[in-house]
Structures are given as structure tokens and as C-alpha cells.
């Protein structure tokens, strides 16, 4: 056991008739102290790792009404993702149609994004303007320009939670989607989602 030995080794000779005092052990049981020490260590280890939050950048474009200032997206490279309630995810490629409108989950959406990205890259035929720019900046032309047309449009429903929003933005980072936009959901899309999952309870936050 962890202990401290007392320095009281010698013991003095007392005079005759003096009874020898009983030698008491000076060993101290240190177990409780060690216990407490480790308890504190565990506590500090936990708090140390928990108190380092990170930040995620989010840049949004300026709102503009002028048509020429708006970013153009090609239909062929567009993927629209809608976030519904109960962590449901809906998506369609290109233009909205009843057949193209599909439902998935947050687990499934990654594969959809990857598949779409691959197909856009495969269909890349070359864009002189972008390649010029990439060459001027001495960047790899292929990796800079091949996914130029790939645009993800994110449209959260009022029922979607903040976590859903951050998760989908995170998915953009994970899949290295260079162009994405957060857009207000259109009524036609809302109707399709309501038809699938029932009426919205959002807009007014729960009390």
C-alpha cells in the first residue's frame, strides 16, 4: 500500500522503570486519497475535451432582385434537396416532377449526392471560361472545372430542425460540393411534401 514511513526509527532508551511506549505505526493508508485523485483526473479530462467547440463557416449570397445578378444553374447539374419533419429528406434532380420527387433519409442522401456529382463530372464536356480561370490560378483544370455545373439547392421546410440544416450543410463539406444554395421552399414542393407526410405543424415554434 502506498504509505509514508515515519522517520521515528530509533526510540530512545528511557531510564529504568519507565515503560516502553507502544510503538505506533506511522503508515497512513493513502488509498482514499488516490481514489479521489483519479476521480478528479477523470473529471478534468472530460471537461477539457468538452469545452472546445468548433465553428462552421456559412457564407450566403446577397439578396438581389435583378435578374442578371442572379446565379444561373444548369438544369442538368441541379440537385434539389428538401428537408421535412422527422428527419425526412426529399430530393429531385433537374426540374420538379411528380415522378422525380423521391424520399430518403440523412443516411441515404450522401449516396444520392455522390451519384449526382459523379454523373455531372462524367457528362462534363469542357468550359473554356472556367478552364482559362483555373489555368491562370495554376490549379488543376480537371478537378476545378469538371463539377462546375453541379449545384445543390437546399430547401428546408418550416418543420426541419436546426440540426437537419447543419447536417445537410455538413454534407456539402463532406462531399466537397462547391456550389450550393439555401433557398426558400416553393409552394409546389411544399404541397408534394405535405401530401407525403401530412400537414405542416411548423411556422409557429412549439411553446
Amino acid at each position: 500500500m502506498a504509505s509514508i514511513e515515519g522517520g521515528d526509527g530509533g526510540g530512545h532508551k528511557k531510564g529504568p522503570g519507565v515503560k516502553k511506549a507502544k510503538k505506533l505505526s506511522t503508515r497512513v493508508d493513502m488509498t482514499p486519497m488516490v481514489d479521489l485523485g483519479f476521480l478528479l483526473i477523470t473529471f478534468f479530462i472530460f471537461t477539457a475535451t468538452l469545452s472546445t467547440p468548433s465553428t462552421m463557416d456559412l457564407n450566403v449570397p446577397k439578396d438581389t432582385d435583378k435578374d442578371e445578378e442572379q446565379t444561373k444553374a444548369k438544369q442538368s447539374g441541379a440537385l434539389t434537396i428538401m428537408l421535412g419533419k422527422n428527419n425526412n429528406v426529399y430530393y429531385y434532380e433537374g426540374e420538379l416532377s411528380a415522378e422525380g420527387f423521391k424520399q430518403t433519409t440523412f443516411k441515404g442522401i450522401r449516396d444520392i449526392i455522390i451519384k449526382k456529382k459523379r454523373s455531372v463530372i462524367a457528362a462534363y464536356t469542357g468550359s473554356a471560361a472556367c478552364e482559362e480561370k483555373a489555368r491562370a490560378k495554376k490549379l488543376d483544370v480537371r478537378s476545378e472545372c469538371a463539377d462546375e455545373d453541379f449545384v445543390v439547392v437546399i430547401k428546408p421546410m418550416p418543420d426541419a430542425t436546426y440540426k437537419n440544416t447543419v447536417d445537410i450543410l455538413d454534407e456539402m463539406t463532406i462531399n466537397q460540393v462547391k456550389r450550393f444554395a439555401m433557398v426558400k421552399i416553393a409552394d409546389s414542393e411544399k404541397e408534394l411534401i405535405v401530401a407525403t407526410e401530412g400537414p405542416s405543424t411548423g411556422t409557429t415554434p412549439a411553446p
Binding site: T55, M56, N175, P207
Partner: protein
């Protein structure tokens, strides 16, 4: 039954070095730990793959709690920054005629976070500090785009901090609804601010994803 008698050996081990190391570790962690200030509103942030560390100086922190209520607080450590924070409330006091007394303006400094409509701010600041920290605030009205009061707060902060670049931190709870977040963004957009930092926990990049491939390619360089 015949038994073999084993020589009795002491089971005592000298634990001193072990204890030494343990307490060395303990002192290291005590020194390395920075305690979070107590949070008046409990917010559980979502996780993201982003690894950028949070910087808190010169920041406007917008908190969205689990009931989608919006709060605002201002970060600054130096006395100069603190003066600027007082400038925020002075500005709002005059532009929105809140009728605050100097004591109440002083009290703004020590209020950890504001979550009341501008009309209710006088009431909040007139309370003693202990009460201000505990009181349940109704949240800043943001949902109505005509009366999005966060626009005023951000505008006043921009004005008070003058040329200094402000960081807009958004700290949202997992379960808060999207419209609250959207109105926060709208309020910032109306102040011509387009770059935000969302406070999140940290998680690793999923294996096999494009990000994980890029990160490993970068580290090989």
C-alpha cells in the same frame, strides 16, 4: 488433507511512483482546463466535420434555444471592447427611445444574454443581477419580418464596433426549428452581413468520402 504451506509474501506494492504520476496528470488537467462560464440557456449544438476553432473576441453571439427562442450576446474582453458594448445599448436607447437610466445601461454590461423584446428591456435591466441571470426570457421577436428586432441589435453592434470586424456566431439547439434560423440569417442579411460562423461540436470526416480523401491527400503533401 495434507496441505502445502506457501511462504507468506506481502501483497503490498509500493504505489508511490504511481501516485506521483497520477497527481502530475491531475495538476496538468487542472491547469489546462478552461471553465465554461455558466450558460443561462442550455443549448445542445449539432456536430459538424469542421475543425476550425471558435474565437470569441469581437463577436455577436446569437443563440437559438430548443424552443426556437432567439437571444443575443456580445463578446469582448478588453475594456475598450466593453465600452463598445455599452455603446450598443446607448445607441439603441436613443434611437428606439427606451428611456434607460445610467444604472440600467451599466447593468447591460453584466447581463450575460439578452432575450427580450426591446420594449421589455428596461424591465429586464432594472432587476438585480442574480435575478437577471435566472429569469426566463421570452426571446427576441424575429419571426415577423417587419418587426425583426435582431436587425436593430446587429445594426447597433455594427455601429458601436465601428471599423472592427465583427464575427457573427450562431449557436443553435439541435431541436430548434428552421424558421428561427432563417429569420436570424435574414436579420444579418439586412445588415449587409453575409459571413457567419455556426457553433458546432466536432466529428471526424466519414471514411471514403471526398472530404476524407482530400484531407489525406493534403496531409501527404
Amino acid at each position: 488433507m495434507p496441505s502445502v504451506k506457501l511462504p507468506k509474501k506481502s501483497t503490498d506494492t509500493d504505489m508511490t511512483p504511481f501516485v506521483d504520476i497520477a497527481f502530475l496528470l491531475l495538476s496538468f488537467f487542472i491547469m489546462a482546463t478552461k471553465f465554461k462560464p455558466p450558460e443561462p440557456v442550455k443549448v445542445e449544438t449539432p456536430n459538424s466535420v469542421s475543425s476550425a476553432k471558435l474565437k470569441e473576441e469581437n463577436s455577436v453571439l446569437i443563440t437559438i434555444d430548443n424552443e426556437s427562442k432567439v437571444y443575443v450576446s456580445f463578446g469582448g474582453k478588453t475594456t475598450e471592447d466593453k465600452g463598445k458594448i455599452t455603446g450598443i445599448i446607448n445607441d439603441l436607447n436613443s434611437s428606439r427611445s427606451l428611456g434607460l437610466t445610467p444604472q440600467e445601461i451599466e447593468a447591460f454590461q453584466s447581463t450575460p444574454l439578452i432575450g427580450v423584446p426591446l420594449a421589455g428591456i428596461k424591465n429586464l435591466l432594472s432587476r438585480p443581477l442574480a435575478e437577471r441571470e435566472k429569469i426566463k426570457q421570452p426571446g427576441i421577436p424575429v419571426s415577423d419580418s417587419l418587426n425583426n428586432e435582431l436587425v436593430w441589435w446587429v445594426g447597433a453592434a455594427k455601429k458601436a464596433f465601428g471599423g472592427t470586424k465583427l464575427m457573427y456566431l450562431v449557436k443553435g439547439d439541435n431541436t430548434s426549428k428552421f424558421p428561427a434560423f432563417e429569420s436570424v440569417i435574414n436579420a444579418l442579411k439586412r445588415n449587409e452581413e453575409f459571413k457567419y460562423f455556426l457553433i458546432t461540436g466536432q466529428e471526424g470526416a466519414p471514411a471514403g468520402s471526398d472530404l476524407a480523401n482530400k484531407l489525406s491527400a493534403d496531409s501527404r503533401k
